[in-house]
Amino acid sequence: MSNNYFEIIRAGVNTTFQDKGRNNLYHIGIPFSGSMDNRNYLLANKLVGNKLDLPVIEFAYQGPLLKYSGDKINIAITGDVIFEIRKKDNKIEGNCYESYQLENGDEIDILSTNKSVYGYFAVSGEFNLKLQWGSCSINTKANIGSNEGKKLDEGQKINISKLNLNQEKKKINYFNSKVENIRVIKGTNFNYFSEEGIKNFFEKEFTVSKLSDRMGMRLEGPKIENIVSPNIKSEGLLKGVIQVPPDGNPIIMLSDHGTIGGYPKIGVVVSADYDRLVQISSGSKIKFKEIELSDAVTLFKLYEMETQNLISQI
């Protein structure tokens, strides 16, 4: 038994362990999974002095309320998150991108995300987790990953197997930019859609539906008219692929997506915009802009440089 642990007093909406995800398993039907917002995942680990690929706790909309028992430990939260730390005789309004030290008996209450979806909670140490295919990432649809592939639940204990010795305070100034313009590359079935359907797709706004989750983001708005066939021969999917089922409402594949699908693909979200895409909350607007492959590659290089730059500032 570990002497350092968190007890979950309230679990939150969709609280899971996540890391860098799993590769090379699409062919047996297992998706990538992993942290939805990769940059915020990496920054959370860096802020507590961990190796960048360690597991963290991901939450959506409302996070968990945790009570800590054990030796002093540093924690950090990334994203755009409202939280407070309750100590014996005072209460601290927490800031994201800043580490805090918890002592035995302290509570951390992750109240909500602010006009965004996902937040990350990292501790200066290692959670005691079982890995599957080299990753802790929980995929609740296939019950794969640590915690038997299930969401974290009230009353559970989260054990920490190893604490970092170095616990200096770390901090950066960073704000997640809220963007509703998402850049896409034409999909492989672009010509399945009517001229007006394509015009609607690139010129009109869509609303993110409540039915969105780690598998997919469902959109509502002008219908995208299909003039060829509502189905294609089932084939592979990737995160960021935008499928249009017969009802004309696009669905964007996210990290826990089904690996094979039979609806036409109108576009694919560029890699550089994926982190920002997943943070668009239900009820918010989204607009698409078409770009070329070469531009998408340049944008990804910029995104990657910015991420590395942030990491190096911590």
């Binding site: 090379n24 699409y26 039907g29 990538f32 021969k233 089904g258 990804f300």
Partner: protein, 224 residues
């Protein structure tokens, strides 16, 4: 072999082997899949073979579309496959409580329940691919008179173990999941076991599957 290579987004190659779905085209897909997998090409992080396509995903930090395309176009494809394909028997119960779409199938196919069941079990199926959800096999080919479209409105929850048909294919829902296939019965057999990391799938592409009809009593006692 590959008819056309294009990009699917900025981090994947979309290899098209032709419009048809048949065993010849599918075995070309699988040959490419096996060869690329064995080569361990730097930057490739996923391969998704399907009936007539192969999607090759790569890490944009390590490589790019042109580099991977060049490598794939210059591959030497091995004709001989070392992999031994298995023949697997899957018990299926078609009791009314499990055969969720039998009424729809009777109407759409204009066949009796006996005839539908007779046609379904009297066959060997070929596994074209696995996926959608972990371990789900896509099996073919159903006879021409057994082919039917997906449900107009997909189910939000298809029960685990459900055996569905649509067009020329049958599949098995390894988990409870959303889905639009016509459910003909249910198998009590575990087709996917995530505790076996090396070989979690009972059925793999290239394998042969035979469905064996079982009665409801046997179905209920199967895992006792």
């Amino acid at each position: 072999m590959i008819k056309n290579i294009s990009n699917l987004g900025d981090a994947a190659l979309y290899c098209d082997f032709g419009g048809e779905v048949n065993k010849t085209i599918n075995s070309d897909v699988i040959k490419y899949f096996n060869t690329i997998k064995e080569k361990n090409i730097k930057g490739i992080n996923n391969l998704t073979p399907s009936y007539n396509k192969l999607i090759i995903s790569y890490d944009l930090k390590l490589t790019n579309f042109k580099e991977i395309k060049d490598k794939v176009e210059n591959l030497e494809i091995k004709e001989t496959q070392k992999i031994v394909n298995k023949k697997i028997e899957i018990p299926v119960c078609c009791d009314d409580s499990l055969s969720l779409d039998m009424e729809r199938l009777k109407e759409k196919l204009n066949l009796s329940k006996e005839k539908i069941i007779g046609n379904f079990f009297d066959k060997e199926y070929f596994c074209y691919m696995t996926g959608f959800i972990a371990g789900m096999p896509f099996l073919g080919d159903l006879d021409k008179n057994m082919r039917v479209q997906r449900l107009e409105t997909p189910r939000v929850k298809v029960p685990k173990g459900s055996v569905g048909i649509t067009e020329q294919f049958a599949d098995i829902y390894t988990f409870e999941s959303p889905g639009g296939w016509n459910i003909i019965g249910n198998t009590p057999l575990e087709v996917f076991d995530s505790s076996k990391e090396k070989e979690p799938n009972l059925i793999n592409p290239g394998d042969t599957v035979i469905f064996k009809q079982i009665a409801i009593e046997e179905y209920k006692n199967f895992n006792e």
